[in-house]
Every structure is written in structure tokens, then in C-alpha cells.
């Protein structure tokens, strides 16, 4: 029979083992989850393209579909499980963006439809849009100046 280890020793063992193996596990989970979500997106893209849609339509329909899937899977409480497994693999794709809209909106529904659902929807999406749009304005100004100079 193995000698039982004390709580203290076990704690030390866990601390020694956990961080490294955790990081590696998380990276694999993120790679697999994110990769799979993008593969689904690629599949949708190829399907829409096969109907003879032009490039812009294909891109728009694909993001709309992915956003719907993310929102739907959040509504049936599946996406949060994917997020627990995949970490950044679930939050970095556009499906994670719609998850970040639906999840707090559902949770804060009891605070009402205006300040609950309406406001809390943008808890994370708000900052993303603020910085994204602001960055696009800065990019536009840089591009405008660059065009005058060149």
C-alpha cells in the first residue's frame, strides 16, 4: 500500500504541477475550440459561395450566421460550457462577441428591459465597439494623411 501523503505535501505537489500543465492544457483547448469554430465559419462561407454569391455577400452572410449561432448557443446555455473548456478559443471568435452580448443580457433581465437587457447587453460589446470604431477613425485619418503625402 502506498503511503498516504499529508495535506500539506499534497498542496505543495499541486502547486508544483498545476501552473505548467494548466497553461499547456489551456493552449490546446483554445487552439482546438477556436480552430473548430473557424472551420464551421469556413464551411458556411464555402456553402454560401456555392450559391454564386459575390465576395462581400459571402462575408456578410457568414458573419451574420456565426453571430446567430453564438447567440443561439448562449441562449440554450451551451456556449458558456464551450467557453469553460476553450477559454480564448471561445471568446476570440465572433461567436464569443455575440455570447458576450447575450450572456449578461439574460442574467440582468430582472433589472428590466431598458437598464437590464438594453444596457447590460453592451457590458463587453460596448468597449469592443468603442475601441474598434475609434481605432477605425484613427486609421482613416492616418490613411487620409498618407494619401495626401504620397
Amino acid at each position: 500500500m502506498k503511503k498516504p501523503i499529508s495535506k500539506h505535501e499534497y498542496q505543495k505537489l499541486v502547486e508544483k504541477k498545476a501552473p505548467g500543465s494548466h497553461v499547456v492544457r489551456n493552449l490546446f483547448a483554445a487552439f482546438f475550440t477556436g480552430g473548430l469554430i473557424c472551420t464551421v465559419g469556413q464551411g458556411i462561407m464555402m456553402l454560401v459561395k456555392s450559391f454564386g454569391a459575390d465576395k462581400d455577400t459571402v462575408a456578410a452572410v457568414t458573419s451574420i450566421t456565426m453571430i446567430f449561432l453564438g447567440a443561439f448557443l448562449t441562449g440554450i446555455n451551451v456556449y458558456d460550457e464551450i467557453g469553460k473548456f476553450g477559454g480564448a478559443g471561445a471568446s476570440v471568435p465572433i461567436t464569443g462577441f455575440s455570447n458576450s452580448i447575450v450572456s449578461p443580457a439574460m442574467e440582468f433581465k430582472k433589472e428590466g428591459y431598458v437598464m437590464g437587457v438594453g444596457a447590460k447587453m453592451f457590458l463587453i460589446a460596448g468597449p469592443v465597439l468603442v475601441y474598434g470604431i475609434f481605432a477605425s477613425v484613427v486609421a482613416g485619418i492616418v490613411y487620409f494623411i498618407w494619401k495626401q503625402v504620397m
Binding site: G41, G87, A88, V102, Y143
Partner: protein
């Protein structure tokens, strides 16, 4: 078929970068998302991101960096077309489908579904 594999690989790698930032820098997922969109805008402006889109397809367009790239692409297109006014119109115009879909579906699904009771 090879396109599916490329999308898997590129999408996976982009998400791994996000996971590395979470694990190594303790940045929250919300900050990662903001960072990725802004990076997408910068890489789009520099013309680097369109190369990734050409190679990896949805592997580049589905992550949030792709959303940033769309914003950059739109703003440059409108600056070409309308001059300085394009700075204000281009980004959101290009991202309109995504933003409207997110708000609409998000709202409908949020009000029709029930949050699971958190233990």
C-alpha cells in the same frame, strides 16, 4: 478541403495567442477582445491582415481581429471615395451587418431564453 484545414489552423493559432495573453498576463477576456479588434484595425491598415484572409479564409475573418480588419477596410474604402468624410462613415458602414445582427439576435435571444441558475 484544404481550405477547411487552413481555416482550422489559422483560427486556432489566433485563439492560442489570445489564450497565451490570458494565462501569461492575466488580461481579462474582455480586454483581450478589445485588444484583438484594435490589432485587427492596425493590421488591416498596414495591409497585413488581408494577406491572412487570403490564406486562411474564415480562420482570419471569424476571430475578432477580422472584425477590426473589416472596420479598417471600410474606412479606407470610404476615404478613397468620399475623402475626409469617409473617416466617419467607412468603419461602421462596413461593419453594419455584424453589428445589427449582434444587436438583433442578441436582444431576441436574451429576452426569450432563461439564464441557468448559477450555483
Amino acid at each position: 478541403m484544404i481550405d477547411l484545414l487552413k481555416a482550422f489552423l489559422l483560427g486556432g493559432v489566433i485563439c492560442v495567442i489570445g489564450q497565451l495573453l490570458i494565462d501569461l498576463t492575466k488580461l481579462t477576456p474582455a480586454r483581450i477582445m478589445v485588444l484583438f479588434v484594435v490589432c485587427g484595425v492596425v493590421l488591416g491598415l498596414l495591409g497585413i491582415y488581408p494577406c491572412l484572409v487570403d490564406w486562411g479564409g474564415a480562420g482570419a475573418t471569424v476571430p475578432l481581429t477580422g472584425f477590426g480588419n473589416v472596420l479598417a477596410k471600410g474606412v479606407m474604402k470610404d476615404v478613397d471615395e468620399f475623402g475626409f468624410l469617409g473617416v466617419f462613415t467607412g468603419g461602421v458602414k462596413a461593419a453594419a451587418a455584424g453589428i445589427t445582427a449582434a444587436v438583433t439576435f442578441g436582444y431576441i435571444i436574451a429576452i426569450t431564453s432563461k439564464a441557468r441558475i448559477k450555483k
